[in-house]
Structure formats: C-alpha cells, structure tokens
Symmetry: C2
Subunit: 328 residues, 2 copies
Amino acid sequence: MNEVLDKKIIGIDLGGTSAKFAILNQQGKIQEKWSIKTDTSNDGQLIVHDIIESIKQQLELSELSTEDFIGIGMGSPGTVNQANGTVTGAYNLNWKNPQPIRQQIELAFGLPFFIDNDANLAALGEQWLGAGNNEPDVVFVTLGTGVGGGLVSDKNVLRGAMDAAGEIGHLTIEINGYTCTCGKKGCLEQYTSATGIERMARDMADAFKNDSSLLKKKIENGKTIDTKMIFDLAKENDKLANKVVDRAAVYLGIALGNVANLLNPSTIVLGGGVSKAGQFLAEKVNKEMQHFLFPTIREYTKVRIAELGNDAGVIGAASLVLNELLKK
Amino acid sequence: MNEVLDKKIIGIDLGGTSAKFAILNQQGKIQEKWSIKTDTSNDGQLIVHDIIESIKQQLELSELSTEDFIGIGMGSPGTVNQANGTVTGAYNLNWKNPQPIRQQIELAFGLPFFIDNDANLAALGEQWLGAGNNEPDVVFVTLGTGVGGGLVSDKNVLRGAMDAAGEIGHLTIEINGYTCTCGKKGCLEQYTSATGIERMARDMADAFKNDSSLLKKKIENGKTIDTKMIFDLAKENDKLANKVVDRAAVYLGIALGNVANLLNPSTIVLGGGVSKAGQFLAEKVNKEMQHFLFPTIREYTKVRIAELGNDAGVIGAASLVLNELLKK
C-alpha cells in the first residue's frame, strides 16, 4: 500500500454552491467521491476550513492516512496564481482578498498541493480520460450560462501572461454584433451560451415569416423558452428552431475554426449545459467548422461532446497533481 | 574556455536562397556570423552537406573545436518533426522526401542538435532578445509575402497536434471575404500581407471618389505600387492610402485581439516586410485591437515592431538549444 505507484490523489472541485471531492488512483479512477455545501457567509472565510475538515473526516472513514497519498489537486473559480497557490476575484465565493489556499492545505496535510482555475482542470480532465482520449493537444469549451474554455497544448494547460488565457467566449465573431456583458461587441458567448441561444431565438422569431414553427408560437405567446426546448424542436424539424441552432453552429464553426488554426488541437471538446444536445450539435458544428479550417488540419480536427460530466474537475485535479509532480 | 557556461552555440537559419549561420554565447550575443547560398539542385541533396562543411571551415578559421560548444540549433522551412529531427514538405528547398537532418549533423559534430520551424525560431528569438523583452508569453506575426506566426507560451513554442499551430495568416476575419491561396475565404493574409495590402489598394481605388489621392492616380495610370509606397503616402495623409492602411489595421486588430483573448500574451511582435512601416503601423494596430480585447487584458496587451531583423532566426536557434538542454 505504501508503494509510490499505489498511492492515491485527492481531487477537489470548488464551486459557488458545492465543493466536490474525490479520492482517485494514479490512473484517474475515482475510488470514493463526496461533496459538501459551499458556505459563502462571512466573506467565505470558512470555505477552506470546511474543505480541510471534510477531507480529514473522509480519511478517517476510509481508514486512510496522508501517507497513502502523493498530493492534492484543486480547481477554483476566480483568478488562480499558480506560483503562489492563491486565488483572487472569486466573486461567487465572496472572497474579497487573495486567499492563501496552498499554505492552509499544505499546513493541514503536509502533502504537495496544486491549484488551478476550474475551467482549466475540467479541460485537463476531459483531455486525459474524457473525449480527449489522452491526446496531447485538446481544447475544451464550456457552453453554459456563459462560454469559457481551457487550452491543453502538449499536455500543458496554457495560462498566459495574466492567467487570462482561454477566453473563448469573448472571441469576436461579429464585428458589430450584440454587446456582451464584458462591454465588447460580437462575443461568441452572446450567440452560443444558453442565454445567447435563447436571445437569438427571440430576436429571430420576430423576423421569421413561417407560421408553422412551434417555437415561434411559444415565443409570441410569451411562453418561457430554454435551450433544451430549442434543440428538441430543432431535432423535430421546427424551422425556426433549426435556423437558430444552425446560426449558433456557424458562429461556433468560425470561432473553433480559428482556435484550431491557431493551436492545432486534435480534438475540441464541447461541455456545459448546451452540449447536452449531444451528437446533433457536434455534427452541425463539425460541418460548419470545416469551412474555416486551414486545409492541412481540415480532415484531422474533430469536435466531440464531453464525457466526464461533473467528474471532469476532480479528474483534472488529479491530472494536475501528476503533471506537476512529474516536472519536479 | 571549457567551463560549461562559457561554451558557445551554433545557430543555423536555413532558407530557400541562403543559409545563415552564427556563433553565439549563452546570452545570445552573436560573436561571428556568415552565410552560404542554398543549393537546391539535385533535389536539395547537397544542402545539409554544405552546411556541415561550412561549419567545419568556420571552426577552423576561428580556431574553435566542437568542445567549445554545447549544441547546434537550426530553423528550417517546411514541417519539422521535432522528435525525429526530420523535415518534410520544404518545397522551396526541393526536398521531396523526409530529410534526416539531426542524424547527419549529430554524426558530423557529435553535439546535441535541435531543429524547429523557421517561424517558430524567429518567434523565440524576438521573445528572448527582441521586442518580447524575454517576457514568457509572446506572439510573433510575420507580415511578408504571406502572413505567418509563432506562438510562445510560458517560454515554450506551441506546436499543436500536427506541428501546424500558429497559422495566424489563415484566421478567418471576413466570412465572405477574398478567397485565399489556401482555398478558404477571408483569411487575414489576404488583407494584411504585402500582396494583400496592394490588392486592397487596387480594389479600393475603383470605388474611391476623391481625386486628390496620389495613390489613386498611380493605380489608375497603371503604375506599379507596393506596400512601402502605400505606407509612405498614408504618412503624408493621402486619403486613399490612409483608408487602405486603416482597413489593414482593423483586420489585424480583430485577428490579434482574438489571438490575445485566447493566449493572453503580454506582447505581440510584428515582423516581416510590412512591419518596416514601424511605429505608424504599430500605433494603428494597437488602437484598433483595443476594441476586440477582453477587458481584463485590455490595458496590458501591447503590439510592438520586431527588433532583431535577419538575426531573429539564429538567435532563436540558440534559444531553442538552451531551452531543450534545460529540459534534459
């Protein structure tokens, strides 16, 4: 049990509503998982304390000690300073000042601790054991309330000069398009996030002249619409719903085509709520993207739907630990 | 002289017309440089032989032996397989089959040999000792007959799954724009390479209604125009020339803004013939790019003109040697 290769990893995926935990082996297989609520009261000052206590409890329950582990990995919202192991700007956790997370957790367990942005770890997870099939060059795109991303190049997460790399949602794809929450115009997020797709549907319904569309009727009757409904109707050949989905696919095609021209990933993985549309979405985006790919990579670049769901973060955290320990 | 830190590096920058050589110290300072013509006859089979002989001669002349060096770095056109040290598809060298360059050069000198794509090495050179000021995250863009690029992230060159990363010239910036030599529509190269800028000038002259433009007169009188002339006239406030330059700057602003949103470099370096327009160009591109940058990075991302000229390749080759030896 104390052989190095048999030792385990603790993965943590911290979010605004819950923190997910897993104990994984070095092949990334989850052996135990659990979660706790994130307590954002008192400026979120109990969050790291609660994480430490929860891990201690679980180790006791599982009859494990810190000697059974090679390290702890964690994904966090906000801007993560990898070198210092601190987090700033995690507004959904109510953290107002930089948090010395590594220091707290290393003091508690005496194990090597590595932390990264949650989107980067989801990307690492999908790259390793999800739709990325452990290919070294994989881009991960979350299509949720917003659009975010993580870039894995030669098995490394790209972070950039200010830890701000991977803002796929804010690629400009329409010079004079919708104004984004970021203040800029024509961001991908405005057309391909859940909210963006719903907004496009409402705007396109006005100009749509075919009365046979159920989606148009729902919108005109003031019914609530959501992305799932739009995709379901598109699958049933609703004309307006199809127009909306096709437009989102064209914008994704332009943006992901440019991402591929720049980074040459083998696979682009789509995750987040919108990606639940599955193969129907992946096929449309793959088809549109072809028009925007440099010929050398055209046959080679694939769009795939994410496979790990909510486990991507903790699996990515384990991958981070392994990658960083390997560098030392 | 035999202290490891005093040892030197040989840098080679192989091109279709000449091969440039330099002997550099480990700070990247060029101590000697020379060049030979590239002999592309006989399917280019004498090229590597000539390179080896030229280095041998120079070592004799300089009274140096292989023991005075830590390694040899080389930039080559074509697709470079880093792992194998081979080159394919270097059409301007007449190489029809993969060339085992590392093997040949290591056999001749018994020194560690590293090879990369020429654009990647120019990027590394500018990142290290040129306009990149040794910042870890720098993007290099050549605006020449075509538009190419090299991406340096955390001091590493990004290569991608097929060694095809960095195709900045083929980012789509106009969905239904000019058809590119690559077959795709609206590539950046069609608007911001030397040939692209000249073509825009001719196309825009037709629609331009102001007769005071000297550029318009030259075009209408069938005179040869070139990019230098267009920039010179723009600096003198020629109205059409300014419109052409501004349009190129907007397209560069969109493309480089998206590159920055994705990779978050601190500096984007413009090289190649078009970049000789200097600060006049850099200021316009910087200004346009602001509109397309995610707010977090807006104040932070700078466009600068390349500083190393023809030495970028051999300096980048030295940087490659140092980086790769450090990894071992």
